[in-house]
Point group: C4
Chain length 191, copies 4
């Protein structure tokens, strides 16, 4: 089976996830800057989640570019990833509307953790099909980023109950780690 529709469907779902998050930014009643100020936490949570979805789209794009064909397992591993990402707008709204309260920040981290695990499963499913000698397997290598992220999330989740700021800083840290596009795959593809 060709990978074209898998990419198109994932692009569609990710594009919608990205855009419905902005619906949380409800038009305020007032017409002055005062009215905007109340939206600030929602706006900040929107920026963070926008970057996260952008990173996932970016890495998904890189990862799939190494694949030639897909099978049923890859389709379902991909849907599993989209499931967890589809919950991002919900938790984004939750942290934003509650001013980053501890419980909400912990759940935010939990959804990110599940998405990271789902991404890892998808990656392994593709490598299993493509073989250990494939471009992806070589590109991923020791996969430091992929291993570090869940560990940071696992620290950030309980930390949310100590301080929302610490767990927030850890989520930003993971985003920064990934913001640098996955040169590994670009490099492997060139060889």
């Amino acid at each position: 089976m060709h990978k074209g529709r898998l990419e198109a469907f994932s692009d569609g779902v990710l594009a919608i996830i990205l855009t419905i998050m902005v619906l949380e930014l409800k038009v305020p009643k007032g017409a002055d800057f005062e009215a905007l100020k109340e939206l600030l936490p929602i706006f900040i949570s929107y920026i963070l989640s926008f970057i996260y979805i952008g990173i996932y789209w970016n890495n998904h794009h890189h990862m799939l570019s190494t694949v030639k064909e897909v099978n049923g397992s890859i389709l379902w591993a991909n849907l599993h990833l989209l499931f967890w990402l589809s919950l991002v707008p919900f938790v984004t709204g939750w942290i934003g509307e509650n001013n980053f309260a501890s419980t909400t920040m912990a759940l935010y981290g939990f959804i990110l953790l599940m998405a990271a695990i789902a991404y890892f499963i998808l990656q392994q499913t593709i490598i299993k099909k493509e073989g250990e000698a494939s471009v992806l397997a070589k590109a991923v290598g020791k996969d430091m980023k992929g291993k570090a992220s869940p560990i940071i999330y696992l620290v950030a989740i309980p930390m949310a109950f100590v301080s929302s700021w610490i767990s927030g800083a850890l989520y930003v840290l993971v985003a920064l780690i990934w913001l640098i596009p996955d040169k590994r795959i670009e490099r492997s593809l060139k060889k």
Copy 2:
């Protein structure tokens, strides 16, 4: 006519159906786990419907991969399927918000039944065009899954008025039957 736009349009509609279902999961007022608990039935209904839409996308993907060209009848049979699937977010919200009440569970089954019939019509329309010797016709064969599903729905709908649990279990059963990707088509394509 090329099948490209039929696939792209269906991907778009299915991606949006999948994603607007999550809008039913409204951000709760409270910021603790207590507030989340109330969302549990809606979350469960979301998972079930997410899997159903995933199955339809998956099978649609498999089915269309055997087709070369489409005609007017196929376009309309496809739109007919999308119509019934577009009602899934509505019934998903209805069962979730009413804690799986009998009437809501019956309607959920009715929409699934109509979608199954629409899928069957689409399949037959394609076979009619491609011929009895086509990949799809051979792959479908006796079509045990396609025939069992509507029968299970027809049992589940009245059962909803006896017990929501029984009809719910039957909907999960059908999902499990289909969750196994349609190896028949993959096998036929390889030959």
Copy 3:
């Protein structure tokens, strides 16, 4: 310029228009059939508009299949069509929530009329670029359907103030006329 992105973008917009209409079908408070009954006019208006958007997608698909390249004028004529179609969910909700009141039915017809005119402009813009000897120009020919539809709308709009039923019947009539896929283009393409 290649037509690929014009098709993809139009597919995206039409898919979203189709799907957000279902959001008007708000999940009712009650969990019985009584609660559903109140949604009946909204459901009927949804079916009618779903068919209309389906017809537009279908014909758009047929029309673009004859085109090889697009220019700036075609891009804007296409956006103009999408603008009027983007208002269909709004008027669909309006007629549904007001039980097909006269004024709402007249506006529904007006939006359909403007969409029909926009479609005609797009068609002429393409023919102008492709030339009078093009597949589309031959296929369209005397364009009976394209000329009859606006005339019927022009009758249906004032008729809404006499009886909503008459204007509703006229909208259904136009849908039926178009429901038959545009065999003209399929035939011309084959030659």
Copy 4:
């Protein structure tokens, strides 16, 4: 990396932005023209933003048509542009619901300014990759439009506090400047 998915993803996001703006046009309670009148400012703001998003899609289409491959920097420059455009539905709703109040009009201009800057960054990122001898670099040339727009926005933003009409007129002016499709690229491509 191939540019296909970048285009598809951008098309998806822009299509959704375009279409969710119409959700601001909430179905009014009344069923007469009186009820519609109140929606007039929202409708006008919808038309203006529809044209702006149309222009961005159009120019994005033209610009990408000159590109062969994309890299990580282009992907992120593109996401940055989509971020600012994703805020257009929010500010469109804000100006519409507040009858074009000064502060809302200033913010509208600010978002347009940021989108223009993001577009410029994307353009430069592509030129940097493609080289000064590329089709795009030649087509852009002195880039009068691209330089005039931010200057007009910078005038329009403070002007909003003098008169909403003046800043509104300036936003319309920029739209008119761009409405003329970018013949420069079409011309360069032909050579």
